[in-house]
């Protein structure tokens, strides 16, 4: 059963086609990756899925009645709030009852390793902001998570922790669409994915169907090695 189906998506920015005739689907319970170099159109695709920008063509179908959580690439939270207050704010926007929020917030802070952190957001490191972004995405226990570069700017340990968290969410049965540059991480946690180049689908990848590593496939498809050799 498909949680998300995108068909023939197209987006044009200033006469330049940044996403072109893109079709893919994400099945319930799987972790799906959007891969590609900078400017491949991954974030634009996510924004079209979330209706944050209008599509120029194509269709997005999301299973009816499901809750979606979204963690942006560069999260900004009001610097004068604490992590707990940020979650209270977004939980309030989601109209989660106060009692339920009181129960959820400590669990989410613990899950993202922010339970000990009493300081204001202005004192947060990049890694802590990413974890807070994930925590707010998990508010209301969504079935479908969209994570845009969740490891961006994290150090090695932060990346490992983030991947462990995503792995745990997968084991809980969450469906996850993830956009990342870090191929090793993707290979570890994702079931399927697509490689994009200049807005178009270049290759469909599925774990265990190719003896080569994802990195090798990626370099071959994108043409990175040739670029360096020349």
């Amino acid at each position: 059963m498909n949680m998300l189906s995108c068909s023939n998506l197209k987006k044009i920015y200033q006469k330049q086609c940044v996403v072109n005739d893109l079709s893919f689907s994400v099945k319930r319970g799987e972790v799906f990756a959007l891969l590609g170099s900078n400017g491949a159109g991954k974030t634009t695709t996510i924004k079209m899925i979330l209706d944050l920008i209008p599509k120029d063509a194509g269709n997005v179908e999301i299973q009816e009645g499901i809750r979606i959580g979204y963690s942006p690439e560069t999260p900004y939270f009001h610097p004068f709030l604490s992590g707990r207050e940020v979650l209270e704010f977004y939980g309030g926007l989601q109209k989660i009852p106060k009692e339920e929020l009181k129960r959820q917030i400590p669990v989410l802070l613990e899950r993202t390793g922010l339970e000990e952190c009493k300081t204001k957001v202005k004192n947060y490191s990049k890694g802590m902001l990413q974890r807070l972004a994930l925590a707010q995405a998990l508010l209301g226990d969504p079935e479908f998570l969209i994570l845009d570069e969740p490891s961006a700017g994290l150090d090695a340990l932060g990346r490992v922790e983030m991947m462990h968290t995503i792995q745990r969410l997968k084991e809980e049965g969450k469906t996850i669409l993830i956009n990342s540059h870090i191929l090793n991480d993707i290979e570890r946690v994702c079931d399927r994915g697509i490689i994009m180049k200049k807005g178009s689908l270049l290759h469909e990848w599925e774990k265990g169907t190719d003896r080569r590593s994802l990195e090798e496939i990626f370099v071959e498809k994108i043409g990175g090695a040739k670029r360096w050799e020349s």
């Binding site: 944050l52 942006p72 309030g92």
Partner: protein
């Protein structure tokens, strides 16, 4: 109301506004202290009843400027730093989102206006005008309509225009609106293209002065012109409608 609360807290942390506010207070205090040699037809203006309308006008212009400065960047900032993404995906309508941000702008603008206006209350107290002092709070409600409209207009145009253009447009509306009687006088004096231009400005801009001057009339015991207050409220309503109609295509 969480969006409004956070936007208000953010406004209160802007130090530049406090600097402008202090300068504004100093100007208002100077106007009232007699340090400025103000005279009409060669007669020095020292009486409270004579000074009050002029001081209210000065407060209105400074308060309007602060309202524009406070309201100009609130909504564009939300979109630039992509705070809007996490609001839109939670199903909050643009009207509700922008409305709460605009409300925060209005509250902070009126808060600043009240600080400036408090100078009038202090002055009334010093001069022993206790009857006037008692009327100061209801008069502030009359006085604040035009500043609220300026703030709301700035919020609305900031949705669709770049910062500089929105600021210039809002400042033009505020200045033309508060100087309506002066522009009317000038339009009767000049001729030709200048006259047509002034009449055009008078036609296109709301008479904010008419609404705010009711506060001065109320404080000095004159009858209030209800139609002027209704006119001010109508301008406020139209600005609210602009905020409702102007939409962002992208979060």
């Amino acid at each position: 109301m969480g969006i409004m609360k956070n936007a208000l807290l953010e406004r209160m942390r802007r130090k530049d506004i406090y600097v402008v506010l202090v300068i504004g207070i100093l100007i208002v205090m100077m106007c009232m202290s007699g340090a400025a040699t103000l005279s009409i037809d060669g007669v020095p203006v020292t009486e409270f009843s004579m000074m009050m309308p002029m001081v209210l006008n000065v407060i209105s212009v400074i308060g309007g400027g602060i309202a524009i400065a406070l309201s100009l960047r609130t909504i564009p900032n939300e979109y630039e730093r992509k705070t809007s993404h996490l609001v839109w995906i939670r199903g909050i309508s643009q009207w509700k989102y922008h409305g709460q941000l605009a409300l925060a702008n209005i509250i902070s603008s009126l808060g600043s206006l009240f600080i400036l206006y408090a100078g009038v209350m202090v002055f009334a107290g010093i001069k022993g005008e206790y009857a006037v002092l008692a009327k100061c709070i209801p008069a502030f409600l009359l006085f604040s309509v035009s500043t609220a409209a300026v703030s709301l207009f700035t919020s609305a145009v900031s949705l669709v225009l770049p910062g500089m253009a929105a600021g210039v447009l809002a400042a033009a509306l505020m200045l033309a609106g508060t100087m309506h009687p002066i522009l009317e006088t000038f339009s009767g004096i000049v001729s030709g293209v200048a006259r047509q231009a002034l009449r055009g400005i008078l036609f296109l801009t709301p008479n904010l002065y008419a609404a705010e001057s009711q506060a001065g009339r109320f404080l000095s015991g004159k009858s209030i012109q209800i139609h002027s207050i209704l006119g001010g409220l109508l301008v406020l309503y139209i600005c609210g409608m602009l905020l409702y109609l102007f939409r962002r295509k992208e979060a």
